[in-house]
């Protein structure tokens, strides 16, 4: 039983990491229809920026995040303005490929500025082991799960109750109609990128606190794709939930079946689920009129 609980606990932790990154993907897709292939790189870059802030100012966790999140939002706004805004109205494929190019650029820039060596980044979180029941945790792991919960709740409230959130849902549903109604689509896009960058920074900092800061952090973006797809590409809450599901399934597979089947299990699950629900667990169905 202990072993099982341990697996569930670690599943929640890695699932939370997937979920946070997946939320970033889903937010951008929801508002702009673009799959941001540079999301993993944004997570990495914001984590490194946070690391530099941390080593310069020696802050504990909350002040560090209060400083990192606005800077990340500025970064997201800048990236959107420079790379995506000029492509407004162009075919989606072209914009997606621009994000691929952006990913290449961000990877190179990160190594250029911070070098290829990995860093130990505690983000002002203590490293003493704590126990929840009989299961040991590092505080950083608990922070990760808590962050997912907080951000999911914040995301739900934002999309449901605030003007900007409803505007985003309108733009996602039908961009032209939203324009006609008077919603500034450009501002919605910019906000989506800014918030996505903010979520990415939280994901990046906490991921690095748990699993070290290294220039191959961007790969986690690709590994989070199953979570995005499982939850439904345009469902922010769904992505978070799906992240947890995939994390738990992966760890249960690894614990009981073993032999490096960890990643494969996640993919097998999404293939099976997608055959039953082609738009993911929580995705909205694309209604096509012929």
């Amino acid at each position: 039983m202990d072993f099982f609980l341990l697996l569930i606990a670690t599943g929640l932790v890695s699932g939370a990491a997937y979920g946070l990154i997946a939320m970033g993907f889903a937010l951008i897709y929801k508002s702009t229809g673009v799959v941001n292939f540079a999301q993993g790189e944004m997570v990495m870059l914001t984590a490194y920026i946070s690391y530099s802030l941390s080593t310069t100012f020696g802050l504990s966790f909350v002040p560090l995040m209060l400083l990192t999140i606005p800077i990340s939002m500025l970064l997201g706004l800048a990236l959107e303005r420079i790379f995506i805004r000029p492509m407004l109205g162009e075919p989606i494929f072209a914009i997606v490929m621009v994000t691929v190019g952006l990913a290449v650029i961000l990877r190179g820039v990160t190594i250029m500025i911070w070098g290829p060596d990995p860093f130990n980044f505690t983000a002002g979180i203590s490293t003493e082991v704590v126990y929840v029941g009989s299961v040991p945790f590092y505080p950083a792991q608990l922070y990760l799960i808590a962050a997912l919960g907080v951000l999911t709740l914040a995301g739900w409230i934002f999309l449901r109750f605030t003007r900007m959130g409803i505007a985003m849902r309108a733009v996602a549903a039908n961009e032209t109609a939203a324009l006609l109604v008077g919603i500034s689509v450009k501002r919605v896009h910019a906000t989506a990128w800014a918030f996505s960058a903010a979520i990415a920074s939280v994901a990046g900092v906490l991921f690095a606190a748990n699993f070290k800061l290294a220039p191959d952090l961007w790969f986690q973006g690709l590994k989070s794709f199953p979570a995005v797809i499982l939850g439904g590409l345009d469902s922010v809450i769904g992505s978070a939930a799906a992240g947890l599901v995939i994390g738990i399934i992966e760890n249960l597979f690894q614990g009981y079946v073993g032999q490096g089947l960890r990643e494969i299990s996640g993919f097998i699950v999404i293939i099976i689920v997608l055959m039953v629900r082609p738009y993911g667990l929580f995705g909205s169905k694309d209604i096509e009129r012929v």
Binding site: I111, F119, G258, R262
Partner: protein, 389 residues
């Protein structure tokens, strides 16, 4: 293209000698090629190798070169991608016209370059990828320096078995599911069979895994207390971090990448005084002398990139130069290969054990030193001097 034609014409005009001169050799210059990992997350290896080549070449040139010829190092980047290694070596051979190869990137990369090396009989010194696949089967012009991962782990586990007095030892290995991991498991296998120890658990993970909680939970469940840690850098750090969280009491044997300062910074907080076995010296008078030379020949940021890969590349280029010296004025690839085969007890000023290629596998530097980390001071203590396994 124009450059190639001109070079071709120049070579034709210049070849007044009675022997066919190999590419990369003129009366004043010898070109040595490096295929390094200069970009991407693994570039800490390539950059260190580059510095090692640079220091060795500078030192040799200052002492007059190889029989009056200066060594020029030409570097190409392969980003750790085997297909690009092949292309990089093609460019070095066809366009730059190198004489010999020193820097060789990772295992899959050097294997991808093998057909080209064999085709041109290129004298090659492999120092960064001492995998068995490189010298099994042995290629005539390839000379490897370095112990295998198998021996490194066998040596460490043997030390733990004989000297560290673990009560009721249960052994476990966690390793990547590729050729590198397979080599580690081979060493582990040999140790376990020889000591008749209890083989607790063998686990594989995919490269790029960050979360080892499930794996370590399995280890704990199997009661493992002697761990062969096949993770590298962040992976190794996370493995030990998880073990600390679960409160596991472990003796740990690690990969030699864990003796590099950045890795130590990552892993030391877990509080395990892990062992590493390496075929280069990490400290002591030999390294102090090396650092003096480094400061003289390299820029400050290059000195900052120095790690174990620098030392072995430095030793490798010196061995190559020594063989080329033995050929005198008439320097050819065939002659260099012959000289390398005869190389015996070549002293590298203590950086590695003396190098001898006069064996069937053309393999040297297989003696390993075992170190233990003091996780509080982040320094290494030598447990055992260079030993053959």
């Amino acid at each position: 293209m124009k450059k190639t034609l001109l070079a071709f014409a120049a070579a034709l005009l210049a070849s007044t000698a009675s022997y066919a001169q190999d590419p990369g050799v003129t009366d004043t210059e010898i070109k040595i090629g490096d295929v390094n990992i200069m970009t991407g997350p693994a570039s800490f290896i390539g950059k260190a190798v580059s510095v090692g080549s640079k220091i060795a070449a500078a030192e040799i040139n200052e002492a007059g070169g190889v029989n009056g010829r200066k060594i020029t190092v030409v570097t190409e980047d392969d980003g750790y991608i085997p297909a690009r290694s092949f292309q990089a070596l093609t460019k070095l051979i066809e366009v730059d016209g190198i004489f010999a190869l020193n820097g060789t990137s990772g295992t899959a990369n050097v294997l991808a370059m093998m057909p080209l090396i064999e085709e041109h009989n290129l004298p090659t010194v492999v120092t960064t990828a001492p995998n068995e696949l490189v010298y099994n089967p042995v290629r005539p012009s390839v000379f490897t320096i370095g112990a295998s991962y198998a021996d490194a782990f066998y040596g460490q586990l043997k030390y733990i078995h004989e000297k560290m007095g673990v009560k009721d030892p249960v052994y476990g290995v966690i390793r990547q599911d590729d050729d590198f991991g397979l080599a580690i498991e081979n060493g582990y296998d040999r140790a376990v069979k020889e000591f008749g120890a209890k083989d607790g658990l063998r686990l594989r993970f995919k490269k790029g895994t960050a979360n080892y909680a499930a794996e370590m939970a399995q280890m704990k469940q199997a009661g493992v207390n002697v761990l062969a840690n096949g993770g590298i850098i962040a992976g190794a750090a996370n493995i030990l971090g998880e073990a600390r969280k679960l409160g596991m009491d472990l003796q740990v044997a690690g990969v030699w990448s864990e003796d590099m300062p950045p890795s130590v910074n990552l892993t030391a907080p877990a509080g395990y005084d892990y062992l590493v076995a390496d075929y280069v010296a990490l400290d002591g008078p030999a390294i102090d002398a090396f650092m003096e030379k480094a400061k003289k020949y390299a820029s400050p940021e290059e000195v900052g990139a120095i790690n174990r890969y620098t030392y072995i590349t430095y030793a490798g280029l010196h061995a190559l130069a020594e063989a080329m010296k033995g050929c005198g004025k008439e320097l050819s690839r065939a002659c260099t290969v012959e000289q390398l085969k005869k190389l015996k007890d070549f002293d590298t000023q203590g950086v590695t054990a003396p190098i001898s290629f006069d064996n069937e596998k053309q393999l040297s530097g297989t003696a390993l030193k075992i170190y233990q980390l003091d996780s509080k001071t982040k320094t290494f203590k030598t447990l055992q001097d260079f030993t053959q396994y």
